[in-house]
């Protein structure tokens, strides 16, 4: 696998975008991890669009909720770390996009508001950009993994 070819300014901007989004994910994950009372129940209960029945079902089931909270918290942390370190970054970006997609469809802005655009949607597309324009093989641990694989082959 060869690393992507970008001009310098493209590389810098892509890496900065990756770091900023990674930072946000990591902060949200760690913040929830350290807040003993945090739960996604309220958010899920408010779901009002696609899959809302499923979200409500999760909110009403304590055991399922524990699992979903765990996945959400550690998902955010791992995605954050992955993006910052450039470790399995492409997967992290796709996973992040999927997570935000779920937040978006649970409570989309157009149900109560006038526009379909909100910060979730920005972050979702930013993650898609990171997924299709990866930078972790230029700066990031993926570079070392890649190099190791090259040595082996």
């Amino acid at each position: 696998m060869k690393s992507e070819k970008y001009i310098k300014i493209q590389t810098i901007v892509l890496i900065l975008l990756r770091l900023v989004i990674g930072y946000h994910f990591l902060y949200e994950g760690v913040d929830k991890l350290l807040s003993p009372n945090w739960t996604s129940a309220g958010f899920l209960a408010q779901a009002n669009w696609l899959f809302s029945d499923m979200f409500h079902f999760i909110a009403d089931s304590p055991s399922l909720l524990t699992v979903v909270d765990f996945i959400n918290i550690w998902g955010q942390i791992l995605i954050g770390v992955g993006l910052i370190l450039g470790l399995f970054s492409i997967w992290a970006a796709w996973a992040g996009a999927l997570l935000i997609f779920l937040y978006y469809v649970a409570i989309p802005p157009f149900v109560d508001g006038f526009t379909f655009i909100d910060k979730n949607l920005f972050e979702l597309f930013a993650l898609l950009v990171l997924a299709v324009f990866p930078s972790s093989r230029i700066i990031g641990i993926d570079l070392l993994i890649n190099a190791t694989k090259k040595q082996k082959s």
Partner: protein, 532 residues
């Protein structure tokens, strides 16, 4: 893992440059840790200010008595005089809801109507008081009928219908008072009847729950005061605010000097509707509300006031005329003075200066629609400003202004530090207190919102989910006020708005009204105990 393997296994084959590039972002995790730790420490410090540094008791609302004192002991038999809107609300507070109203709430609640749900939940939270309503008195047949229905088969807080065949209608309140089987009376008539009814009730040995305003004149006030003091009856004035947790918390904040020296208190009334200005004789479609000279005993309604022909406007909108009420002073200022007196414990003001006018509503009325009163408390070194508009409903709150902080009290309260505070100078400088946002709120907000909170957390806040998580049951404060009265009747003790407290509040009401009517500053002579 991958990092480790790559270093150990293939170290020689990977250039230093590649290792550097591979690990270039690792220091950012250090930056992250520091940033996170710094924010959390600051947050913690801020949170600490709200409770420990302020020396306030825990955030949980004070616990309601777990055993319902009301449900044990002797049955208290009640008579009610006046079953209008307020009378009906008082019956509900006593544990009797009109069956039709209950059914409507119940159906709406089953149809997922949130307002109906919360109303019903609040009703279910009421204690069973073990009281029976046996006497109904109203000059209007339709209202008396409604009262009889509520008393005989209304719905109780446990959801069950009452089955009471002993309800009697009285056309004259004197006859109701003459019934020896009635222990206590609720008086919810227009204000100008309160004094005489209270005196007559007390003299016939009945306990009294009287709606505000208590009296129209100073002479009446003194007569009621003497009558209640002489008797052994339990008296409660309908200033139910004393049961609001928020005011208890506000008092604690004042007592602990969290605001510093308070020199100005502003409180207000803000309404902007015909109904809010007591123009109430028409229904939603513009047709006259029910009531004719045949169904309303107009002579009795007028009592000792000047004789005027039957008038539906007066019947439904009596507070507009000074013959029947003390205007905004009696209607709305009375609740304000009660709330503030509870918090500050100031007693009776030294002086009052009122002004205003009928500037908006051109219907027949004495009551001003724009009204201000300035009350001075020189002994306590502060001024209270009451300002009312019936033609603009912008919320102007209730603000206690201290040298160190302001406290805004509504259904909840918040405390905001003042930028020039002495007490909080160093905390403001250190960033522990932000003067743009409250450093204390009640009920306490359980979720912190900061600059980089996720969209999810903001959703919590924006959609009001935070408020639904506040602990504690929702209770009707009028019910708690009623319960206190019944508990004291049964077990002894003193009521929250007993005759002493009612006297103080009513003097202030009468001062404010008198100042407006006589267009001059009035003072309280505490030696002669009269308004001069």
């Amino acid at each position: 893992m991958a990092d480790k393997e790559s270093k150990e296994g293939q170290k020689n084959q990977i250039s230093r440059r590649e290792v550097f590039k591979g690990l270039a972002a690792v220091p950012l995790l250090g930056v992250f840790s520091y940033d996170f730790w710094r924010r959390k420490t600051l947050e913690k410090a801020k949170r600490k200010i709200t409770q420990l540094d302020l020396g306030l008791t825990s955030d949980a609302p004070s616990v309601l008595p777990s055993t319902s004192l009301g449900s044990s002991g002797k049955l208290v038999r009640i008579g009610i005089i006046g079953v209008g809107a307020r009378g009906t609300a008082l019956l509900k507070a006593a544990g009797f809801m009109q069956a039709e109203v209950y059914k409507e709430l119940f159906d709406d609640s089953n149809n997922d109507d949130k307002r109906a749900k919360s109303k019903l939940e609040t009703y279910y939270n009421q204690y069973v008081l073990n009281v029976q309503v046996v006497g109904i008195c109203d000059v209007f047949d339709a209202r008396a009928e409604k009262g009889i229905q509520i008393a005989s088969n209304g719905i109780q807080p446990n959801g069950e219908a009452v089955d009471n065949k002993n309800v009697k209608r009285y056309r004259r309140y004197q006859d109701l008072l003459a019934n020896p089987d009635i222990d206590a009376v609720i008086i919810a008539t227009p204000d100008f009847h309160h004094a005489q009814m209270t005196i007559d009730a007390v003299n016939s040995g009945k306990h009294v729950y009287c709606e505000k305003a208590m009296t129209m004149t100073e002479e009446e006030l003194n007569n009621v005061y003497q009558a209640v003091k002489k008797s052994g009856v339990v008296f409660q004035l309908g200033h139910q605010n004393s049961k609001n947790e928020t005011f208890k918390r506000a008092k604690e904040i004042i007592d602990k000097n969290i605001l510093g020296k308070v020199t100005l208190i502003e409180t207000s009334t803000n309404r902007n509707s015909k109904s809010g200005a007591w123009i109430r004789h028409l229904d939603g479609n513009g047709n006259p509300k029910p009531g004719t000279p045949d169904s309303i005993d107009w002579e009795q309604w007028l009592g000792s006031t000047p004789k005027v022909p039957f008038d539906l406007e007066r019947y439904y909108g009596w507070p507009r005329w000074f013959a029947y009420d003390t205007g905004l002073a009696g209607q709305l200022f009375s609740h304000e003075i009660d709330a503030l007196n509870q918090v500050m414990g100031f007693g009776i003001p030294k002086s009052a200066t009122s002004s205003g006018g009928v500037y908006f509503y051109k219907e027949d009325r004495d009551m001003p629609d724009t009204f201000q009163s300035v009350l001075e408390f020189p002994d306590r070194e502060f001024t209270m400003l009451y300002t009312a508009s019936l033609a603009n409903s912008r919320s102007r709150g209730r603000v206690f202004m201290g040298h160190d902080a302001s406290m805004i009290v509504g259904s909840g309260l918040e405390v905001i530090a003042n930028g020039d505070s002495t007490q909080y100078r160093s905390k403001i400088k250190n960033g522990l207190i932000d003067t743009n946002v409250p450093f204390y709120t009640y009920p306490t907000n359980p979720v912190e919102i900061d600059g980089i909170s996720s969209a999810t957390e903001k959703y919590y806040a924006e959609r009001g989910l935070i408020d639904t998580k506040v602990q504690g049951k929702s209770m009707d404060i009028t019910h708690l006020h009623m319960k206190e009265w019944v508990d004291v009747i049964r077990n002894g003790g003193t009521t929250g708005c007993n005759i002493e407290k009612a006297f103080e509040d009513t003097v202030a009401v009468l001062m404010v009204h008198k100042s407006y009517v006589e267009n001059r500053k009035v003072e309280w002579d505490h030696i002669q105990r009269k308004i001069v």
